[in-house]
Symmetry: C2
Subunit: 393 residues, 2 copies
DNA sequence: CGTCTTTGTCCTGGCGCTGGAGAAAGTCTG
DNA sequence: CAGACTTTCTCCAGCGCCAGGACAAAGACG
């Protein structure tokens, strides 16, 4: 079992070293407001536990050079991101820098046993490639609501068979290290907060448009999970009373109108109706269409594809506008599999939000694409577990 | 200047005495996890400052009777709630029990100077009636966004002339005590949390349907104000793309479709068109109609009024359903001037929310009317200032 | 009236922290 | 290159805080 900090001071120091990299005692002292002696004592204790190690001399600040310290270079965290149609696994060091990353297409509906098997194979590969001998902690995201304290999915609509499956317990057994489980969108938000566009933003949300649509909410720097762990589930907000029937039983849900799945469906239908030669030819080649095809067609100037994206962006923007009025965030991040749709989508969303929300709320509100892409989820997962391990036992 | 607690322990004790009433050292010791000696020291210091006083002997718990202590009985907090069309002022003791309460119709658009004059007159009346000699703190709510740290309204749509007016500074000067300013809806939420239906709920929101529509958001027991102080501004979420034009410039805003003002407007129009004899006769008697008339007519069985309420409730429920999906609260409180519409409105809102949001979010979600009515705002205001004063200096 | 329980006070020993003194290690200037 | 200045780091004395035991006070109970 890896050591844990014994008090809040040590936890604070560990997080500073995680987020700011190796540093000297003197500089750490500038940030934590402890007396030199106290700081020295706590650092010495951390050195004893092995969580941090000496790391040579720092550059001089005009006097005696100080001894750097850093988080133990051998620490390894595992980030696992189970999406609807793929699995990502990554290894990071204690500074949450990704050392190795694997992606594998996989349908989450195959159930927890099959998915776990795949995940463990991928973990094995990463281990065999020499990146890690063992793991000090793992974070895992699943595409559905999670009862966070227990680390168990609850009533997940798109992942039958996972309801109540003891993800945390099982994974902890297999890996022999502490594990935390969260919703994949929450982790994506944490990833952008840790290493992406949302650094230093206290209140924001992160809209993930992938197979479905979800939203990670950060309030005061902390993820808001809601009473039953289903906060951020915006895919079934109604955008059109006359809209399509959704799998959830209602009409005109955002997710039924625009999402990776809905976009592919609409593109295929446009291709069949002959409304877009570009899409038709792509359909003929591949046998089916995906959001990526629409992105490609749009990039090639296909008007129908551009319209689909604009229309979807407008619907999404309509929902986001409402949430912005309600929540008044300092930033909105758009991310997920549809990043290929990029700036066309973004422009369309922005138009709606800036038009519909009040000036006070939008006046200084950046709406941006996430900058981590595939890495957001796994980065957030390692952030989740490291936050846990770098807190007093 | 009233004394302030010197540390977090004292602050904790003061809040326990505020929320739990007079208590003995022994019982307090059961709750705060301090050694007897430490507790005795802190209590003695509080006694020295005069914030708490001895209050006789408690009942025996099977041994020596203990000496009760309570918050100083002479402490007085002032709660001021400035609504769009009325002003409420109340005096409470340190336990936030209302000792005196005045209401006065007043249009906030008359501007800060006129409103302040009125408020000070009301305060004078309360003082003269012997309820208080001076005030130890005051909380004030205004119907618009507030830059909370400075206590200044920002860009308030319905209160021209208030933008940038230094409410906190000015009131503090006049009253000679510390003052905190917040949005009126946030205070209403805090009121229900302090003394109403939301006691012990950590995550909820409180929808106020009055002249306009707003929403107080509580996350983890704390009010969420948003980046620019405009969080909860849900009146301008679009509910109908083809709907009425709203004062904000958009179409189909919730507030344009249903609110105290919209309801009165629709009722008058129904009365003129002869769709409702009941409303017509009320219009004839009074010259104009208000939400209260609609409530009265509905109580008398008027079908048109009932339809108006049902339709409005459905629109409101539609918006709340979306917010419930997003936020996953543990409770939704409906309050404000329309409480007269009561259970018809509530039923209509519930129907929408339970139908539209996912079962996981609504499974155990009470949607209830606020139980404090007029007192919610002023209670929240005194809670605001007492939270401030009962925190370490 | 004696015993038991609860409450409140006093006191001692221990722990942890602050901040000064001073040594160690470097930079910089003439 | 020597000496002065700066920064870093260690050591230590002294102070303050606090836990927890001993004991006294007050009352319940039989």
């Amino acid at each position: 079992m890896t050591a844990r900090p014994a008090n809040a001071h040590q936890a604070r120091l560990l997080r500073l070293l995680r987020d700011g990299g190796p540093n000297s005692r003197a500089r750490l002292g500038d940030e934590v407001d402890l007396s030199r002696s106290k700081l020295a004592v706590e650092v010495d204790r951390l050195l004893e536990t092995g969580l941090v190690v000496a790391d040579g001399l720092a550059a001089s600040r005009g006097g005696r050079r100080s001894h750097n310290i850093r988080l133990a270079p051998g620490l390894r965290f595992l980030g696992i991101d189970i999406g609807a149609t793929s699995v990502d696994v990554a290894v990071t060091n204690a500074e949450l820098e990704i050392l190795g990353h694997l992606t594998q297409p996989m349908d989450v509906r195959e159930g927890p046993v099959a998915v776990f098997e795949e995940v463990l194979t991928m973990v094995g590969k990463l281990r065999d490639s020499g990146l890690a001998e063992g793991f000090d902690g793992a974070g895992i995201g699943v595409p559905g609501p999670v009862r966070f304290p227990e680390g168990v999915p609850v009533a997940p609509p798109i992942m039958p068979g996972w309801d109540g499956f003891p993800v945390r317990e099982a994974l902890s057994q297999e890996l022999g290290c502490p594990v935390r489980v969260d919703n994949d969108v929450n982790l994506m938000a944490m990833g952008e907060q840790q290493a992406g566009v949302a650094r230093s933003v206290q209140d924001f949300f992160c809209v993930k448009i992938g197979t479905g649509i979800g939203c990670g909410i950060v309030v005061g720097g902390e993820v808001h999970r809601g009473t039953t762990g289903s906060a951020g589930d915006i895919g079934h907000i109604q955008v059109d009373p006359e809209g399509r029937r959704c799998a959830c039983g209602n009409r005109g849900c955002l997710e039924a109108t625009f999402s990776g799945a809905a976009l592919a469906r609409d593109a295929e239908s446009a291709a069949r109706d002959g409304r877009s030669p570009e899409l038709s030819s792509r359909l003929e080649r591949a046998g089916r269409l995906t959001a990526a095809d629409v992105a490609g067609a749009a990039a090639a100037g296909d008007a129908t594809s551009l319209d689909l994206i604009r229309e979807g962006g407008a619907r999404t923007g309509q929902v986001i506008a409402g949430l912005v009025s309600f929540f008044n965030p300092g930033l909105v991040v758009i991310s997920g599999g549809v990043t290929g749709l990029g700036h066309t989508l973004l422009a369309s969303i922005r138009t709606q939000v800036y038009r519909r929300s009040l000036p006070l709320a939008t006046g200084n509100l950046p709406i941006v694409l996430g900058e981590l892409g595939q890495a957001a989820g796994v980065t957030g997962a390692t952030r989740l577990i490291s936050d846990h391990l770098f807190s007093p036992a």
